[in-house]
Each structure stands twice: as C-alpha cells, then as structure tokens.
Amino acid sequence: MFKKLSMAAIAVALSATSSLAATEVTWWHAMGGELGKKLEEIAQKFNESQSDYKVVPVYKGSYPETLTAAIAAFRAGQQPAIVQVFEVGTGTMMAAKGAVYPVYKLMADEGEPFDTKTFLSPVTGYYSDTKGNILSLPFNSSTPIMYYNKDVFKKAGLDPEVAPKTWKEVEEFSRKIVSSGAAKCGLTSAWITWVQTENLSALHDKPFGTLENGFGGVKSEFTFNGPLQVKHWANLKKWQDEGLFKYGGPVGGDQAATMFYSQECAITMNSSAGRAGVINNAKTFTPGFAPLPYYDDEIKEPKNSIIGGATLWVLNGKEKATYKGVAKFFSYLSKPEVQADWHQFTGYLPITNAAYDLGQKQGYYAKNPGSDIAIKQITRGTPSENSKGVRFGNFTQVRTIVDEEFQALLANKKDAKQSLDSAVQRGNALLREFEAANSN
C-alpha cells in the first residue's frame, strides 16, 4: 500500500515537472482498438514535433459515453480542452453556446491559418453555423458505401465486376443470388437510420426535416415520412418477406457485418470506415466496393451522400496558453500528410482536398481499388439543402426511435407508412423538448 502511494506521489511529481516544461492539452476521444492506437501515435508525433505543448489523449469509451463524460466534467469544472463528439451530438454541442469555443474563432484568435475552402465541403457544411463558420474541427468523417461479395456474384451467374447501381438492380441481383442458392440472403445493412433513412433522403434530394434539415434552428420538424422513404421501407419489408433482405440489428447493426463476412448475405451497406474490417475478415472471398444504390425513377443523378463519424470540439474555461496549444495541434492535424495517413489507415474520409491529392500522388487509390469510392460519392455535385447533412437536438434518442419503428415494421406490427409516421411524431416530441430546454 505504502509502496503504491509513494509510486503515485512520484508519478504526480513527474507529471508536475513535465507540465512546467510543456502546457498540457487533454483530448478525450472514443477511438478504441486499432483506431485508438493510431490516434495516440498522431498525438505523440505532434508532441515530438515541438516542446511547448503536450497533447494527452484519453480514451473515454463509446461516443455517447465520451459525450456524457465531457458534459458531466464540464458541469464539475474538470472538462478536457478537446473532446471528440460524434455527428449525432452536433445539435447538442451547438446549442451549448456557453460551453463551446468555436474552432473558426479559436484559430482566428490564435492567428493560425485556417481556410475553410481547403476542407471537403460536405464535411465542413455539416459542422458550420448558418453563416458558414466551422464550429468544430472535422477529424474522422465517414460516409456509407456498398460492399459486395464478388465470389457469390460469380456463383449466381452475375458479373462480379458490376455492382448494382440502382435499387431495382439490387432487388434483381438479390433474387438471382437467393434463387440460384449462391447465398442465403441478398442484402443486409448496418445503420438502418443513418444509411437507409438519412442517406437515402439526401441521395434523392428529399428533406429529412424542415429548416434545412435542422441547420436553420431548433424549431425544425421531421418530415422523413415522405413517399420516397415510405416506398423504400416498404421495399425492405417486402424483400425481408421474400428472404432477399436480412435485418442486421439496431444502431450500428452488428449482425450485418457478421452475415456479410460469413457469406450469408451477398451485399451489405456500411460506413466507409468499415473497409479495413471487410478486408481483414473477407479471407475466403473477394470483396467489391461500390457507391450506394438509388431509385432511378426518383432522381436521374443521385446527390452526394452525407457523413457520419466525429469532430473535435473545444470546450470553454481553460487558460489562454492551453488554447494556443489546441490551435497549434489543430493546424498539425489538418496537415495533408497527417490527414492522408489517418485516412488511408482507417478508411475515414480525408478531411482536406490536399490530403486527397496527396493520396493520389502517392498512388494509394490506384493500388487500392475502391478506396476512393466514399470520397467520390460524397463530393459529387453540389450539396443541396437536403443533402448537406442533418442536425437535430436529442438526435441520439431519435435514432433509437427510428430503429424501434423499423423493428415494428419488420415484425409485422405496422406498415411502412404507419411506422414512419410514428417515428416522425415521436421524434418531433423530442425536438420540442429540446427546443424548450435550449431556448430559456
């Protein structure tokens, strides 16, 4: 016991002396496993590149856990300087004006160069206020893409190099795959909320909610129970009944990846950050990568997809020197080499155009076919009001509701229209609660 205490005392003394030399910048994040190691490597490289600041990354668990921990810490006056918040928490962070030090302001105050135009526009659009100012630094952004099993395609008599482009083709291909016995199911999907509802709406230029999908303020309402979404949900239900579609579970849909890896399902849709996992797990088959499908009777050319993942928020209440360090660190993070390295290692999007260009120069995309599908998909065309993203308060809970209603649909309790209507109605109640809590 005594030994432990004295060890602790030494540790405290050591950290105290080191903080005399360098200002500490704490960074709470939600990256576990390999991603966490890579993140720590980035922080360490920054620390070695200079001697004035020391970035200390702390793993805080899942995204919701990290957000809640940061909020609790803020209330207790123990907040970190930087916290990684997933895109669903954006509405919550934006409403908390007193807690957040906007990134555009921080960079200007500290005289660090920060040009919004160098960033990928669909990414920055998501995290900007209505005036176009970036409030948090994009770090790990992803977008959903389609993964398919080339071997199963071949077995079913399909061309393994041709992925289905439209939902009609997805249906036809799946039917062929199942009826030929090449696989037990045609398609599955992770993230029913994010991929099959939010991104579906964006791709077809249909609103998810009023006031520019919530970007215009807290008075917005959900409108994702339109004819397109109803049609798509009804299709998924119909395909489930025919055995073409298999449900992968709520939230991230853990079962979807398993069913794809075990070759039970031939097609899956998931985050581009799932690419490394697919490559590692597809030992006995060749995976193919493709953009998300669309309905060609709804839109001729699909719009850009929207992002997921997380950004880095700066919290108020720290000393001036700490913010200087944060600004320096953010400049470092935005460097093309740092960004390209992170993007190629993880499958997250490159945040800046320069990082993408660097990858091209390095020949990364040529060597790894399919690795640039996510970037091409998210940068195609000009983002419209409906395709620049979604931003709502209480959105974590809203996603849970959408999952629940989708389950009710698949369990035959409601039809597509009823379940979407109910999701919109229950979601709007949460929006009104958020509005009430954030307008006084």
């Binding site: 909020i71 209330r75 919550t92 449900y247 398993t258 075990s262 209480n394 999952d403 629940e404 809590a437």
Partner: protein, 294 residues
C-alpha cells in the same frame, strides 16, 4: 431466548459508533436521492446553463407516455418471472444437494459459480449462446422448428433476458435455501420418516413451511435485484430492444438520462422507481410477513 446485554455508560459512544454508517448513508444515499427529487421538478439543458422549475411536468408526461406505461407492465412481467424462476430452481437445487451425503460440496461450489460472474459477463454469455447467426441454441431450436430471433421478436428477447437474469440469481437463492434446509431439525424429519411419510411429503409438510422466513427474505431480495441490478444484463444482451420490448424501468432511466441527456425526466423516473420498490417492500412486510412462521 436470553440475551446478554452490554451497557455503555458513555452516552455519546453509541452515536459515535453509528456515525460512520450514518455518514455513508447520508452521502451515498440520502443526498443523491434528494438531488434526484430536486431535479425531477426541473428542466435543464445538458450542460446546466439554465435550470427552470417545471413542477410536476415530467411526472405528468410520464403517465401520459404509453412507452412508460408499457415499461411499467413489462418490468412487472420481468420481475415476477425472474423471481419465480430463480427461486424455484434455487430451491430445487438446494433440495437435491441437501439429500446428498457425499459430493455435496462439489455441487455447491459449481452451483454458486454463476453468482461470481459479473452481470454484464452473464449478459454477453447468453447473448453469445442465443446469437441468431452464430449462437448454439438457435441452431438446435431451429431443428425442432423454432426460429429464434430476439432481434425482431419481442417475446424472444424477453425470454432471453429472463433466462440470463434468473440464471445469475439461482446461485444466491440456492445458498440461502440450502442453509435453510440444513437447519431444519433432523429429529422432525426422522419422526416423520418413522411415521411412514416419504421424502416428497416430508419436504412439503415439514421443510417447506420451515423455510418460509428464508423464502420471504429471498422474495424481497429478488424483487430488488430484478428492479435494479439487471441493468447490465439488458444492456449487454438486447439493449432494451427490439422496439423497446425489453426496456425495463431501470433501463429506461439510463436511456433517457445518460444516453438522451434528459436529466429531468430521468430523475422523475428514478424517483418513481424508488417509490415503487418502497411500496412493494412495505406491502410485503405489512401483509406477507404475518404469514411467515419463525
């Protein structure tokens, strides 16, 4: 029964001896409970910049919310099923082990094992066993014509958490029942045996009635267990789904308060949960305890 009484002359000493326990109760129970009551009357943004007194709004909303009323009913089903299942199996195992002359210790050790397992590990374990695409049990169930799917079938999901929660609690009940059975006077059993009654009859007419204090104690403990301690099991197996089919009251507190950051409503739910358990315990002591023989 004669008691040995030790008399303390110092008037302050008893208070001093009680003080640590009282302090702990105050800091870790009374204070947080009072905080919960306070914040159940308030509406607050997550960061705590503005707090508005809203009176009984949260409580009124809860009783108008069909999801909350469903969770209430669901919790009742869950609590009753887990309590009955784990107590009956605990008693059955205890009776079986009690009859063993040899190797009783080995069985006791094996049966107590699950209690040492953390609830979340128990949850993950059953989640693996019942996993729809890789689990062992759905594979066998399919052979007898049952398509197991707790991802979509609410009843299946409920059965899953009942089994997982009961499995963990059987050990505890087993230990107490075994101790109770072993304190049944041997002379009574022998007398009954000489009178010609068989083991089953002896169990139901002698052992079981004498176990009533144990049963009563376990009943209260088990209900409390299902109300509060089963949270990790739900979280690790079903996450409250599908479509809230396994969202019990305590899980809803977590969902709304921790994940949803709706502190006011979540506090109101904790207060209600606390009241429900207090009421249940009161009813049990007031009415059930009278029938218990000591």
């Amino acid at each position: 029964m004669d008691t040995k009484r030790t008399t303390f002359n110092n008037r302050l000493l008893p208070y001093l001896l009680l003080a640590p326990q009282l302090a702990i109760t105050l800091v870790f129970f009374i204070w947080p409970a009072a905080q919960a009551v306070k914040s159940s009357f308030e509406r607050e943004d997550p960061f705590g910049f503005s707090t508005v007194f809203v009176g009984l709004t949260h409580y009124r909303r809860l009783f108008e919310d069909p999801n909350y009323l469903d969770a209430l009913w669901r919790t009742a089903v869950f609590a009753v099923s887990v309590t009955i299942l784990s107590m009956m199996l605990g008693l059955a195992f205890a009776a079986a082990v009690d009859r063993l002359a040899r190797s009783a210790k080995i069985y006791t050790t094996l049966l107590v094992w699950p209690y040492a397992v953390a609830p979340v590990v128990a949850g993950v374990l059953w989640w693996f066993l019942f996993n729809t695409s890789t689990g062992l049990l759905p594979f066998f169930l399919e052979r007898i014509g049952i398509r197991w799917d707790h991802d979509l079938n609410g009843t299946h999901a409920m059965i899953l958490i009942i089994i997982a929660a009961a499995w963990k609690q059987i050990s505890y009940n087993f230990l107490f029942f075994l101790a109770g059975l072993q304190s049944v006077p041997q002379s009574l059993i022998e007398a009954a045996a000489i009178d010609g009654s068989g083991p089953v009859r002896r169990f139901f007419t002698i052992s079981l009635p004498l176990l009533s204090p144990t049963t009563f104690f376990l009943f209260i403990i088990n209900v409390n267990y299902t109300m509060f301690d089963t949270f990790p099991i739900v979280d690790a197996t079903t996450g409250g789904g599908p479509a809230q089919a396994t969202t019990t009251l305590v899980y809803k507190v977590y969902q709304d308060g921790y994940v949803g950051l709706n502190i006011g409503s979540s506090s109101a739910q904790s207060v209600l949960l606390m009241l429900i358990v207090m009421l249940l315990t009161f009813v049990q002591f007031r009415f059930v305890e009278r029938r218990v023989q000591y």
